[in-house]
Point group: C2
Chain length 149, copies 2
DNA sequence: CGAAATAAAGATAAAAGACTCTTAAAACTA
DNA sequence: TAGTTTTAAGAGTCTTTTATCTTTATTTCG
């Protein structure tokens, strides 16, 4: 569904939108440790998100990364598009080229509906909403809940 | 979304449910040629579907493969489950283990809905319905329409 | 039974995705 | 400016998926 890279990107952005982190510079190594991701791998993902204007980062002592915009202005769909592209939103279920209403496969009509709902889900999910769920409702964004605070 | 193997499996089953093929033994090499799939690769996929009782096959002269049951009794979901398993129907969007209502991630509620719609799509798609769409409405199951009949 | 056709199986190869290791570049500190 | 910290970048490894090549087993037919 989503690539692992994209999942890490979403988790990272939600993490940076949590009240503890927001408005701070957070080291990639810190995020990596919290979310159980390889630091150097995460570094590349963060960099991708910096390139498209979702995150900012600075190197060096007291460097780190943070949200480039207020959390309510960043949607999950932005991250998905930045990392996985729009394939999942307009690709044929059977992988046939040129998926559209004029040239449908047998699944096209129903699959189009599912895709629209999927798109709506990612479009309606802003980072502040997601972070609020994690923070207020204690929902998880990683395997084991973080109990060390 | 679906693995390439699963896509080939679905295409093959729809092809075998078309009026021209139904009730006949069709050679794997014929299907492979029609659907632009590597014959030996398709042979393994057909064999998987034989194992779970969706297709039957015999070797030798005038051998081939065919639907093990009437087309209206085979659903797309059967093929998906046989090849890709039930991961796409019960896996967390963020890949977290143990996706369920008691232990949700921030996407769980919405993602559960999308997954249910996806499941409904595959459950309501029987091979006779899919084949009828291809046959009657001239919908496609492969890249270029088959014009040689 | 022998020959030909065809699916099944095993081993190998190619491609993509996920992840690691190493080095370089930048920013701060003193 | 020198030293330290931290992100950026490049090359390389590992694993899974996809696909191919070769051999084997089975079936039909003459
Ligand atoms: S053509 Fe297949 S889903 Fe649109
Ligand atoms: S826990 Fe993430 S989708 Fe269910």
């Amino acid at each position: 569904m989503l690539s692992q890279t994209c999942i890490y990107g979403i988790q990272t952005c939600i993490f940076l939108a949590l009240p503890e982190q927001v408005e701070k510079r957070v080291r990639v190594s810190t995020i990596a440790e919290e979310l159980h991701i390889s630091p150097t791998f995460l570094s590349k993902i963060v960099n991708q998100l910096v390139q498209v204007g979702i995150l900012k980062s600075v190197r060096g002592v007291s460097g780190g990364t943070w949200l480039a915009k207020p959390a309510q202005e960043i949607k999950a769909v932005d991250i998905v598009l930045a990392i996985d592209g729009n394939r999942i939103f307009n690709e044929c279920l059977l992988g046939l080229p040129g998926c559209n209403d004029r040239n449908p496969c047998p699944f096209h009509q129903q699959w189009s509906n599912v895709r629209l709902q999927l798109l709506a889900m990612f479009q309606s999910s802003t980072l502040d909403t997601l972070a609020a769920k994690v923070n207020d409702l204690d929902l998880r964004i990683r395997q084991h809940k973080n109990n060390d605070h």
